[in-house]
């Protein structure tokens, strides 16, 4: 009998792992809680650092697995280990018997309204990076009409102990730079400001994008956190910040303020980690058994991990990890077969 592997989550990690497991001769089954595959990627327009179309990337991930069984709008309700197998109960009364489970549950976006001082959901001109990306993709959701001044606030819900998220979300810095460039492409006459704590341009070609933002698009990078947001008589967004390089407080009126919302542990992970008896770290993400050599190892026999379920990651990192997990599952099932 060919081993079945249950993949929880149909985002980039789950899709790539399914493809690899298919190639290795297994039968992956994807369980996705939403009504479409692709996770956050499906809602994104273009990707850093080179502006590749998110739709194209998603197509490349979905196409190879188009014949893989998928349960949409479905969650895992129970998982019992029975000998070498797991008996998994799914919502809707379905059941799967599988040899291994791969958890690719991904992340949630930080709910920006929790940073009350930034006025998301209160002031009309305040949107999130996710709202902006949706607008780039569909022209819908928010009203952006030839803004003359646009601000980006980095680290919204990241590196912030006050709201209990100490972790860096890793991708927001470069996403802000990407989105700032895109705003300048669409509205060349606009002035764009990025308010940052540090700029973490760690990936290949990120620095190039950052230089392009400065040299070509004249995006102004201001090192300092925005302290509070309000609205003036004309409806413009007024922000207060400090330029910590010149040690001067700033007050700027903007037409649009974009909050770079960070990655937090998936809102469903509490329930799922309980069902699968997985360990969670202080930051809410799943804690792997070994954070250096075995990020894919949950520490529970037969259960593996991939992607942002163990912390903020870029898409290339997520895909690499999905392949590593597929290989780890292959090794695990091969050893089982020998025994």
């Amino acid at each position: 009998m060919t081993d079945r592997v249950l993949i929880i989550g149909g985002g980039p990690a789950g899709l790539e792992a399914a493809n690899q497991l298919n190639l290795l001769g297994y039968k992956p089954v994807i369980v996705e809680k939403d009504d479409t595959l692709g996770g956050h990627l499906a809602k994104w327009d273009r990707l850093f650092p080179e502006g590749e179309s998110a739709e194209t990337v998603l197509y490349k991930l979905i196409k190879p697995v188009e014949h893989t069984p998928v349960y949409l709008n479905t969650i895992v309700e129970q998982a019992d280990k029975e000998g070498n197998h797991f008996r998994v109960k799914l919502s809707g009364g379905k059941e799967e018997i599988v040899s291994a489970i791969l958890v690719c549950a991904g992340f949630s976006l930080f709910p920006a309204e929790k940073k009350e001082e930034y006025g998301y959901g209160i002031y009309n001109g305040v949107i999130t990076s996710s709202d902006l990306e949706k607008w780039f993709k569909t022209g819908k959701g928010v009203n952006i009409n030839n803004p003359s001044k646009v601000g980006f606030v980095h680290c919204v819900g990241s590196r912030d102990e006050k709201i209990c998220n100490r972790q860096c979300s890793k991708v927001c810095c470069v996403t802000a730079v990407k989105q700032a460039c895109e705003i300048k492409e669409k509205f060349p006459d606009s002035e764009v400001f990025c308010f940052y704590m540090d700029l973490r341009m760690f990936g290949r070609k990120y620095e190039d994008l950052y230089l392009k933002a400065q040299n070509k698009y004249r995006v102004r990078f201001i090192r300092g956190r925005v302290s509070e947001v309000s609205e003036d008589f004309t409806g413009k967004v007024v922000i207060k910040a400090e330029d910590t390089l010149s040690s001067k407080p700033l007050k700027v009126s903007l037409d649009l303020l974009v909050l770079m919302t960070g990655m937090i542990s998936n809102s469903s992970i509490e329930e799922l980690s309980g069902i699968l008896s997985l360990n969670r770290a202080e930051d809410g993400f799943i804690e792997p058994a070994d954070t250096i050599t075995k990020m894919y190892d949950s520490g529970k026999e037969g259960i593996f991990l991939a992607g942002a379920v163990t912390g903020p990651k870029t898409i290339p990192e997520t895909l690499s990890e999905a392949r590593a997990s597929a290989l780890a599952i292959h090794n695990y099932l091969s050893n089982k077969a020998i025994q």
Binding site: E113, E116, G119, I122, E228, S230, D232, F233, K251
Partner: protein, 338 residues
Amino acid sequence: MIVEGKKKIWSEYQKDIPDDHYFYVRSCIRQNFFPASEKVFLDIVRDRLGLDFFETPHHTTCGGIAYHSDSIPQETLMTIVARQFALMTEAGYENYVCSCITSFGIYNEIINTWFHYPELEAKIRELLWEASKREFKIPKSVVHASDVIYKLRNKILENGKYRLVNKNTGEPLRVVEHIGCHYSKMFPSKGVGGAEYPYVLTGMAEAWGGTVIDYPERRHCCGFGFRQYLVQANRGYSLSNTHKKFESMAPFKPDMIITNCPGCPYFLDRWQYVIEELEGKTYGADSKGIPVFTYEEVAGLVLGYDPWDLGLQMHQTAVEPLLDKIGITYNKEDKYKI
């Protein structure tokens, strides 16, 4: 502005405000500059509503202004506060209500500090015993007097004679609400509505018929800043803060300002006079100032108190423009009659 967003935040910051049986402590600044506000407060809760608000003549300053001006060590402040708590304990009360926002912040700060550092609480208990042979219980509930009026806002409206409505146009009056910094900025959960969009005064203004203005410098300090005002050489800091607020609110054309802190109505009132004297600039209609009130004064106006019984003649910025807008009857000649 998306009001629903604010309502959501307001719903998340509701604090427990006991119905009755309070130990009441006064504010140093308010007794000096807005004495009638405390009188009206006790009139409303005791005489009109029949509630139990006990005051002992033995209570004193909490020491807050001296503490924030670095004139007394933290241990001194804590021991004075412990003595106030001892007076409450001796009087048989558990609910503590203070007239002062600085005190309110200090009570919350001290109780929170003792929670995290119980050894410090133990030390203060020893110091209080050494100084006065008193013992105390920490209050079950610490609220600010504006929390109480907020809770009673609808009752006040039911018994009200006037509303915050322009009698000529029928339009709600445009209200600037100014919250004392130490009300909820240090401990957002201790204030009705939290720190960013406090609801305590907004709730009163809206209940009484007004509409509240959200202007860019709404959250900014009035400028008191303790030593920024208390030393004459520093007063430019204080004045420039108030100036910043008025420049920011002016385009919204407010009819009035409501405050819940002792110092704020003083500075928002007096510095308007100074700005007019220095620059000839006024922020209200017809070259007049914007009248500034304590929440008790506004409650008193709604209830139909005589403006001069409310002590409104002790304001430097004339209150008459607002009284006329509402249609409150008053005798001009009585204003300074003593």
